[in-house]
């Protein structure tokens, strides 16, 4: 009976988390406040290893990529919800540099107030630098643990619940939505 009650409680929390992600208002961020830094794969790897976070999620996306745009609100919700619990999210745009204004507007419209990044090297070097599991398809998500070890990777669109389950597993904590305050 206790197990059933606990399962129901966890289920409600997950549902509430999902409801929050779906219904939470997007933070208001001005385009001029969006911070985007050009990076190489080596820069990303260094940030992952030096993060001091319990988990680091790296998401490769582009403004022209439909599935990337579709999953973005859920991704930002996960970032806001779990940053306070040790998650660091690195959003890396694969757009060309000329699209930087569009990248910044996209990020502002979706309430990304934390630092974001833009790919700044040739595709081959960038993809190889991220490890041999990535084919180059977008979106692609890498999930590292606190020691910088790759714990999960997938290509293609994910939902709030998928992001949450994978992140929580690496954080090693029970599902505990915090109301979205980073």
């Amino acid at each position: 009976m206790t197990v059933i009650r606990r399962s129901i409680t966890v289920g409600i929390l997950v549902c509430l988390g999902g409801w929050y992600a779906a219904c939470a208002p997007t933070k208001t961020v001005r385009v001029e406040d969006v911070r985007v830094t050009s990076v190489t794969a080596a820069d990303i790897q260094k940030m992952v290893h030096d993060s001091g976070a319990k988990a680091v999620l790296v998401n490769m996306w582009a403004t022209w990529c439909g599935p990337c745009r579709a999953e973005f609100p859920d991704l930002v919700s996960v970032a806001h919800q779990y940053q306070g619990q040790g998650l660091k999210v690195l959003l890396v745009s694969a757009d060309v540099e000329a699209e930087l204004p569009a990248v910044k507007k996209f990020l502002a419209d979706r309430g990304v107030e934390f630092p974001a990044y833009l790919k700044a090297e040739k595709d081959q070097a960038f993809i190889d630098g991220m490890g041999n599991q990535w084919t180059g398809a977008l979106p692609a998500t890498f999930l590292y643990d606190g020691s910088g070890k790759l714990r999960d990777f997938w290509e293609g669109e994910a939902t709030f619940s998928v992001f949450t389950q994978k992140v929580v597993k690496v954080l090693g904590e029970p599902i505990k939505p915090t109301g979205g305050t980073p």
Binding site: M60, F126, Q133, W134, G136, L138
Partner: protein, 199 residues
């Protein structure tokens, strides 16, 4: 430590399948599968095989990257006949969420670009799965013996005027001349193939 090793193993195993489909030297899979061409006829990879090789490109209509390379794909594809290289372009995307990838739009695109080679529908996306193709546009070049000699990008720049390395064109030139392809595999950022659900 054991836990970390376990995770590394699990991630490595789960990633191996997605990252390393066909390898250089492999034969093309699913060559007998008939796919509907924009002219209404059913065509397979085997049907287009050329005496000097076969070029299979996974592409589509909607992807901005596929669009960026579509004129170059048309040029390379249309010149294949002169080189004895059979060419087929396969659209494996599910058009449900991307109507621009439906059959009628494919017909319009092929006509607009003047394709003289088949542009076909992979109606189950299983041909892409068999190739382990993941992006558009993604090229596979097989030599006269049917062995994979090049896999990857068309060239090194989305901007046609900035291209420095013509990977696919150079591979065709080398392969049809009986020479070794210098750059056998290249990687590029592209749209993921929008696979239909497995049946």
């Amino acid at each position: 430590m054991k836990s970390n090793s376990f995770w590394t193993l699990i991630v490595s195993l789960s990633l191996a399948g997605s990252a390393f489909g066909l390898t250089i030297g492999d034969k093309a899979p699913d060559t007998a599968v008939k796919m509907k061409n924009v002219d209404g006829k059913e065509v397979s990879i085997a049907d287009v095989t050329g005496k000097n090789g076969t070029l299979v490109i996974f592409s589509c209509n909607h992807c901005p990257f596929a669009k960026a390379w579509q004129e170059r794909i048309a040029a390379i594809g249309n010149s294949g006949k002169d080189k004895g290289v059979g060419v087929i372009v396969i659209n494996s995307n599910d058009p449900t969420d991307y109507p621009e990838d439906n059959y009628a739009e494919m017909q319009k695109r092929a006509q607009k670009l003047g394709f003289t080679f088949p542009y076909v529908v992979d109606a189950t996306s299983d041909v892409a799965r068999a190739f382990n193709a993941t992006r558009t546009p993604e090229a596979f070049l097989f030599d006269k013996d049917g062995k994979l000699v090049y896999h990857g990008a068309i060239d090194d720049s989305q901007d046609a005027s900035a291209v420095k390395d013509h990977f696919l064109q150079d591979a065709i030139t080398a392969s049809t001349a009986g020479q070794t392809v210098a750059n056998k595999e290249t990687k590029f950022v592209g749209c993921g193939i929008k696979f239909r659900a497995k049946t």
